[in-house]
């Protein structure tokens, strides 16, 4: 695969679109949980807020600054875990983690839905942290660990 094919895989249209116009870029009103995430290497910082009712994520949003990959991943995440149970969100987290670290061959891409656009990340080891930041932060919020998570 040539260098520029790799790049096209990383910066797919959907990724760029989400990074420019992130969904659920706000603070959840009446949030029941939140956590801050930080990637010290590149200075990416974001806050995830959640409303969990009866074990279901009723609302989820994020705010912060970061590169295209971290923003797009956060934006896509909010869409993917809304109305899911904690357990379901955890399964999605595991799939995404495998996708960005091991590549699309290692997971059931169909089950990932829209999140499959993150498949290009695995060719860029230096960018895995960017793609996972929002997810680690979500997990911290779900586990009630409000303190800042760090990808270092």
């Amino acid at each position: 695969m040539s260098a520029s094919d790799d790049l096209k895989d990383l910066y797919q249209e959907v990724v760029l679109e989400h990074s420019k116009r992130p969904r659920n870029y706000r603070v959840v009103e009446g949030a029941t949980a939140e956590a801050a995430g930080h990637n010290p290497l590149c200075g990416d910082q974001l806050v995830v807020t959640l409303k969990v009712e009866g074990g279901v994520i009723k609302d989820v949003a994020f705010q912060g600054q970061g590169c295209a990959i971290s923003k797009a991943s956060a934006s896509l995440m909010t869409g993917a875990v809304k109305d899911r149970t904690r357990a379901e969100a955890e399964v999605i987290f595991e799939r995404v983690h495998k996708l960005v670290t091991e590549g699309p061959e290692s997971v059931d891409v169909d089950a990932l839905g829209k999140l499959a656009v993150l498949s290009g990340v695995s060719e860029f080891p230096a960018r895995v942290k960017c793609a996972s930041l929002a997810w680690h932060t979500l997990r911290a919020a779900l586990e009630g660990r409000g303190e800042a998570v760090s990808t270092e």
Partner: protein, 407 residues
């Protein structure tokens, strides 16, 4: 340019002649660490093949040779920065250790509760954190000279910040994040007028122009071998002899003592008092080789090359649509820090990397100055004596490619 042929210079650096990701390597990250000429690589190999032994302790021929090489390197460093005496040259791991050494010896002795340490907003973390730690240990207060929107020090603020409680001024000569050249000679003059000693962080300076510590007048000067085409793990603390001699030791161990009983230790004279344990012998030898390499090129010639290339690169980058330079000081050294439209520096770095172009993205270990410019990170291209206009042109093409991806 007299005697300086960049094409020839490139021939001296084997690492530059390779393809990465299917493209010729374009290395624009020398402010992070510089590449090594064959002369340095050869010096390391020669030392291990012929002269290696521990220094200052054996009576045998190899130890003699190793000691000669190590102490010869000290003399070479002295000459390079025009120190008065080779005893004023302390070998350390790098700039970071040099500054920690001063903070923990000079600082612990002379700086107490309520005293002030003056630094600047544009320091590398290596010239912030050791002072912060000292302040926490002693109750001293850290004061900061602000920078303006060009990335120059606000010189008007300096005199008021040099107070009767100021015990040291620690300042970089060239900002690694912005490229600003700081008038350290003038600052030293002002500090000395009030009897305040000055430490200069020369990590980004010694590779780009001649440095004369006697002319600067500073009391301490710190730099790293690896940024000036020498090995990693070796660096220099220059200190005026009167100050070094009055300073307590840093680490304890072999080589830094004259005699040891269980009751009493007599410390060695300077600079050995500050070099506990077996030093980085091949590092010192390699650093000396790097210095001889620079001296053969002529630091004036290097400076002229870097200046001319910086001017070319500044103009070329400023013509890229949406590019905003961070750090536009009137006097700059070979660093170009910038933001490209709305694209995050990390994305810029990834796309350039696929073009075979190495730059640095991030906060450059200088978060306080990033905060001043209200950016979490920048993209930074840094130039060295082996870079060419072609490298700059490749960077510009790469940036257009970034814009294409992000349209």
């Amino acid at each position: 340019m007299s005697g300086f042929d960049v094409k020839k210079v490139r021939e001296d650096f084997p690492i530059l002649h390779q393809e990465v990701r299917g493209r010729p390597l374009v290395y624009l990250d020398s402010a992070a660490t510089a590449q090594k000429p064959q002369a340095v690589i050869d010096a390391l190999v020669r030392f291990y093949q012929h002269d290696n032994a521990n220094v200052h302790r054996g009576v045998h021929v190899l130890s003699e040779r190793a000691t000669e090489a190590y102490e010869g390197a000290r003399e070479t460093v002295r000459r390079f920065i025009n120190a008065r005496d080779a005893k004023e040259i302390v070998f350390v791991r790098g700039t970071t250790e040099a500054i920690n050494l001063v903070a923990q010896t000079y600082g612990r002795k002379h700086i107490g509760a309520g005293d002030e340490v003056l630094i600047t907003q544009m320091e590398h973390h290596a010239n912030i954190v050791p002072w912060r730690m000292l302040c926490e240990q002693t109750g001293a207060v850290l004061k900061v000279i602000p920078v303006d929107d060009r990335g120059e020090l606000v010189l008007d603020a300096v005199d008021a910040l040099l107070t009767e409680r100021t015990r040291i001024l620690a300042v970089t000569q060239v900002s690694n994040a912005l490229g600003t050249v700081v008038p350290v000679k003038e600052l030293t003059r002002r500090a000395h007028a009030k009897g305040i000693p000055v430490l200069v962080d020369g990590a980004q300076a010694v590779t780009h122009f001649p440095v004369d510590v006697q002319d600067l007048g500073c009391d301490f000067y710190a730099f790293s071998g690896h940024k000036m085409f020498g090995p990693t793990g070796i660096g220099v603390l220059y200190g005026r002899k009167e100050l070094l001699e009055a300073m307590p030791p840093y680490q304890g161990g072999g080589d830094m003592i004259l005699s040891v009983t269980m009751e009493k230790v007599t410390y060695n004279r300077v600079p050995y008092r500050f070099e506990a344990g077996t030093p980085n012998l091949e590092g010192a030898v390699g650093l000396a080789a790097a210095i001889r390499y620079l001296e053969a090129l002529g630091m004036e010639n290097v400076a002229a090359h870097d200046r001319e290339l910086l001017a070319y690169a500044t103009q070329a980058l400023e013509a890229v649509p949406g590019l905003r330079m961070v750090g536009t000081a009137r006097e700059k050294s070979a660093v170009l820090s910038f933001m490209l439209a709305e694209v995050h520096p990390h994305d810029v770095g990834t796309i350039l990397d696929r073009e075979g172009i190495c730059i640095r993205t991030g906060h450059h270990c200088a978060q306080p100055v990033m905060q001043h410019f209200k950016v979490p990170a920048t993209s930074r291209a840094s130039l060295a004596l082996y870079n060419t206009r072609e490298d700059v042109d490749a960077l510009v093409r790469g940036l257009h490619k970034v814009l294409e991806v992000f349209q």
